[in-house]
Structure formats: C-alpha cells, structure tokens
C-alpha cells in the first residue's frame, strides 16, 4: 500500500511539473525566439523559423543586428525617453492615486460613494475611444514655459505623462488594500494627534508595500507599452518613446527582422530590470490581493 501511495504522489508531482513546464515554455519560447533571432542574419532567421532551430543558438551568430539597429535608429534616445516618461508617470501615479484612495477610504465626505462609483465606471472606457478629443484638448492646452505663455502641449514630455497620472485601476487597487488595513491604526493616529498627512506618510504608506509594487508594475507595463498616444502627439524624434521607435524598422519594404529582434531585445531590458527589482513584493501581493 505504501508503495502505491508513494507512486501516486510521484505521479502527481510529475504531472504537476509537466504542466508547469509546459506553461513556462509557452511563456518563455517567444522570448527565446526573440533573443536567439537577434543574433542571426535575417535570411537565416526566416529559414530557421520553420523548425526548432528558431529557438536554438545555431548557425551564423553575430552582434551585427545590434550594430545595424543602433545605426538605423537613435535607440538610446528612445529608451531614455520611455524610461523617463514611464518613471515619472509611475511615481506621480503612485502618489496621486494613493492620496485619492486615502481620501476615499479614511476620510468622511459627502458624495464619496457616488464619485467612487463614477470613477470605477470609467474603467470600462478604453483609452482609444477618448484619444481624439484628448488630442484636440492637448493641442489647445496652455502652458507657462521657459519662453513664457504658450498654447498647445503637442510634442512634449508632459503630454505623454499628465493624461496617465491618475487612473481608476490604480486608485481601485489602493482602495482595496487600504480597506483591509486595521481601522484602529488610523483611529489610534487620530487620537495621538496625527494629521491626515502624517497618517498617510508615516503609517498608511509604509504598510502598503505590496499594493505599491502591484500598482507600480501594472502602470510601468502600461506606460512602457504606449504606442498609439505618443504616435499621435509626438512628431519630434528627440522625445519619441521605444514603441513608436519600432516604426524605424517595420516601415520598410524589406523588414530587417534581425534588427527588429535586436531592438526588441534591447527595449525589453528595462522591463525585466524593473520587474526583477519588484518581483518578490509583486508575487506576495498577487497572492494576497488576488490581483493579476
């Protein structure tokens, strides 16, 4: 009987591993394909893609694609732009959205239930549907810059940042997390004489690591992957983000696939770095909040 049980256990373990490996493979293979292809000449790449060789480091491997990619497009500028826009947006988003959520959860004010419902309702509106009116608005917005008063936000960093600072999903994530913080902690702060700002800064935010990580990663991915909006509002090369930069390679009669893969590999690095930095907190928070 004992052997049967242990066999069962072994079988179950193997099945579990098999499923996990299969899932991992499904996720990893496209990345593997991308990285491997980035070292191959375009002709070989297309031939290899018909067989398993596509995923293997075989054939004529070189860094030529990378050199060519850097010649074709100002990749450094694009990556810098994307990291800047994404980084600033993430930081401002975390600050603004957590403050909004704080007000929704801890402070009593009339109408907050209605406003929160309206806010959640905006989740079902895709950004793409509001991009045209947003574009018209952005072209007319005033700004006081170095040259004094000016009109129109097009072709700036701020037009890529400001519209995305506050979003319903991030506020919702923070609200859900704050609701689970013990109410007594906040009450104890109030009795001790802490201002709302102190409560936010000294107690609520230090306890909100998991939700900060979750919101940050989701926002980072959303911002880094921005394509349509920057395509519409940015014409100058010097402030263009990475996804729009992909056009330098794909808008060709003969697409240089090797360079495309090299470019994609390069622009994946910041995402990977950011994710790895927050991975531990992120996994803990996915487990605890049920947010994926």
């Amino acid at each position: 009987m004992a052997t049967v049980t242990s066999d069962n256990r072994g079988l179950r373990l193997w099945t579990r591993y098999a499923v996990l490996i299969l899932v991992a493979v499904i996720f990893v293979f496209p990345l593997l394909f991308m990285v491997m292809s980035s070292f191959k000449p375009s002709t070989q790449l297309l031939l290899d893609s018909k067989s398993l060789r596509a995923f293997l480091p075989v054939g004529d491997l070189s860094l030529q694609n990378y050199t060519d990619a850097f010649i074709r497009a100002p990749i450094g500028v694009f990556v810098f732009n994307s990291v800047l826009v994404t980084g600033v947006t993430v930081v401002l988003c975390l600050f603004v959205c957590s403050l909004a959520a704080f007000a929704f959860v801890f402070i009593d004010w009339s109408g907050k239930a209605v406003i929160f419902s309206v806010l959640l309702a905006t989740l079902i509106i895709p950004y793409e549907t509001i991009f045209i009116p947003l574009l018209l608005m952005a072209s007319q917005l005033p700004w006081i810059g170095a040259d004094g008063f000016e009109l129109g936000w097009l072709n700036t960093y701020r037009v890529q940042i400001v519209p995305f600072i506050a979003d319903a999903l991030s506020i919702f994530l923070f609200v859900q997390f704050f609701k689970d913080l013990p109410k007594e902690l906040i009450e104890a702060c109030r009795v001790e004489g802490a201002s709302w700002w102190t409560i936010y800064r000294k107690v609520v935010m230090p306890l909100s690591g998991p939700v900060i990580a979750t919101a940050a990663i989701l926002k980072f991915l959303f911002m880094y992957n921005q394509f349509l909006w920057p395509l519409m509002v940015v014409q100058e090369e010097s402030i263009r983000p990475v996804m729009v930069g992909l056009g330098y390679f794909t808008d060709q009669l003969n697409v240089p696939w090797g360079e495309v893969m090299a470019y994609l590999t390069i622009i994946t690095v910041p995402v990977l770095a950011f994710y790895l930095a927050l991975q531990r907190v992120f996994i803990a928070s996915v487990a605890s909040t049920g947010v994926k």
Binding site: E184, L185, E187, E192, T198
Partner: protein
C-alpha cells in the same frame, strides 16, 4: 487628570438611536467602568468621548470644557484599543514615542518619557523589538505605554484585555489597577466582563440598549441592584430569579411565596406591590444555605454538583419545576437526587416587579 461630564448624550445612525440620553459624571482621578452586554452601546459611548464618533445630541465636557466639536487630538485623551493598534512597521520605542514625535517633542524628552513608561510597564528589554516579535500581553503593554507618555487628562480603554488568554488577562487586569493607583489619572474602561468591572472600578456604569441602567460603586451595585438586569449581570454565578406571588403587601413589607417557597416576609422599600401581583425574587447563589434535612424555606432536589475548587456549585430543581443554583463551600458534599431544603437571609434577597422580565426580553 480631569473630570468628564456627559449630559443627555445621544447618538443616532440615521433614524436608529443607539445611545439614548446618557448622563454620567466622572470625577478627577476616578476609574469608571462601562459594562454591559455586546451591543449595549458602551464602546460607542467611549468612542464618542474619544472623538472618533460624532455626538448627535447632548454635551460632553472634559475638564469643564465642552468638547463636542473638538478633534480627538484636542481633547487631551489617550486611548488603548482592543486590537492594540500598534504600528507593525515601527519598533516598540517608536510606537511608544509616536504621539510625542507628532507633537514635536525634543529627543531628550522622548527618551526620558519612553524610559519612564517602559519602567512602569516593565518592558525596558522590549524597546528595540518589532510588534511581530511580541506576545499579546506585551503588545498591550506597548499600547498602554503609548497612552502613558502623553500625560493625557483621561485614559480610555476599549476592552483592552479581551484578546488575551485567561491567565494573562488576570495579570494585566491587576497591572492596569496598579497603573491607576500610580498615575491617579481619570480612566474610563469599557468591558463586557463583569469581573473586570467589579475588580477595577471605583464606579461602574451598567449600560443596556444605549441607556444607563445603574451607576454606583461595585459593592452598591452588587448589594443593591436597581433592577433585574443589573442584578443578573453582576456577580458570578449570576443571581437566581424565582417567580413568586405576592400574598400580602403592607407598606414596605411584602409577603411572597410560590409552590417551592414557603411564605416569606421581605422588605421592598418604595415599591408598589399589591396582594395578588406576580413578582421576581432574586437571591445570590452564595446566600443560599442548603441542608439535607429538608428544613428551610425553599424545597427541591439536587440535580448536579460541580466542584470548582474554591467553591461548589449545586444545581437544584425546585418543587415548582424551576431550577436554581447554590454556591456552597468546597468541603460540603451534597448527593445528586437527595431532597434538600434551602434557607437564606431575607434581607439579602431582592424583589423586582414582574414586568421587568418583559423588559429584559427586549
């Protein structure tokens, strides 16, 4: 230290009134316990004093000043919560000093006061630990420490011991009592545990359904409960209640009896019993003296005896079908099934109008 006065204090949530006009006077340095069953409004009342709940009507004075509309921090109070509410990301030292930090106290002052509180609460060795490394009792000490360092006018305790196990609870109860003796501060303490109320309080306020049932010293409430509710709530085991008929009533003197109770003359001051009324006779289990020779005023049969060590509790089925409990000294033995008679001192029995039974049901 300060006085606290509540005058016709009320609290409503929409159309539902949960605190229905409460008047309480708390003197300087007094230890007052709000006690009552869950849902009686005792915690709400405490939170209203703390400023965590609005006062719908009436006035609340602390130290002679009406504080209805003041923020919690302006009221000069400190509060200890049932769940401790200490900050998990701060060390014990930072937790205790939290209020001082917010008030902008100097580093020396903070260190001095934290050290003093740690000495009083015997937790000097815990100061650099995090809350997750502390036991429940130690966490509660930290919460009390945080209250002490601010020298509040009034300490508020919201069921501070109910998350602790029985042994620790007794220990902490004594420490809180000692703390009150040392600090001589006004303290308001909420509990549903009548033992905590009896042992700690200078004055007990018994609440039920958002109303004050009785206010007095523990022994006043124990010996002269104003109504059936207070009589049943305080004392362990709780008071026996017998349904009796009023046989005669002449002024303060009333004669009662029932199927199991021989006619008994009892004094019922200020009452308006009339012959033929039904009434409730209350006798504490400790005052019942059973004897196996079946003599006595009350007749029944022993159903079960439970030895608690310090005393023995006897369940007795009475001749009229009701049952009562007697608490007798631990060395006495009564056999289950034996017929017994019980005597008691009529001056220690209480007579309540029968209507209160109905009120109790609400």
């Amino acid at each position: 230290m300060a006085t606290v006065r509540l005058r016709d204090v009320r609290k409503s949530y929409g159309s539902v009134e949960v605190i229905k006009g409460v008047d309480i006077d708390i003197e300087d340095g007094e230890f007052v316990v709000f006690v009552g069953p869950s849902g009686c409004g005792k915690s709400t009342l405490l939170r209203m004093i703390a400023g965590l709940e609005d006062i719908s009507d009436g006035t609340l004075e602390i130290d002679g000043q009406v504080v209805n509309d003041l923020e919690p921090k302006q009221r000069g109070i400190a509060m200890v919560f049932q769940t401790y509410a200490i900050f998990p990301h701060m060390t014990v030292r930072e937790n205790v000093a939290f209020g001082l930090t917010i008030a902008g106290a100097s580093k020396e002052e903070k260190e001095r006061k934290v050290a003093e509180a740690a000495r009083v609460l015997q937790m000097e060795h815990l100061l650099d630990r995090r809350p997750s490394q502390l036991s429940g009792g130690q966490r509660q000490r930290v919460a009390i420490g945080r209250a002490i360092v601010r020298d509040p006018k009034v300490f508020l305790f919201d069921e501070p011991l109910s998350n602790l196990d029985a042994a620790l609870r007794m220990n902490m109860r004594m420490e809180i009592g000692k703390l009150h003796q040392d600090l001589k501060a006004s303290m308001i303490y909420v509990t549903h545990d009548q033992v905590e109320a009896m042992t700690l309080a200078d004055k007990i306020v018994v609440l039920k359904g958002g109303k004050v049932m009785q206010v007095g010293t523990p022994m006043e409430l124990y010996h002269n409960p104003a109504n059936l509710f207070v009589a049943g709530f305080l004392g362990a085991p709780s008071m026996n209640f017998l349904q009796v008929d009023v046989k005669e009533a002449a002024g303060d003197r009333v004669v009662v009896g029932n199927g199991a109770l021989d006619p008994l003359q009892i004094s019922a001051e200020g009452s308006s019993f009339r012959a033929g009324d039904r009434a409730i006779l209350g006798v504490r289990p400790q005052y019942l003296d059973p004897s196996e020779d079946a003599a006595g005023m009350l007749h029944g049969q022993v159903e079960l005896t439970e030895r608690l060590g310090s005393e023995t509790v006897v369940d007795i089925g009475l001749r009229d079908g009701s049952s009562i409990i007697a608490a007798i000294s631990e060395d006495r033995v009564l056999k289950a099934g034996s017929n017994i008679g019980l005597t008691f001192d009529a001056t220690k029995a209480h007579l309540f109008p029968h209507e209160e039974i109905r009120e109790e049901a609400h």
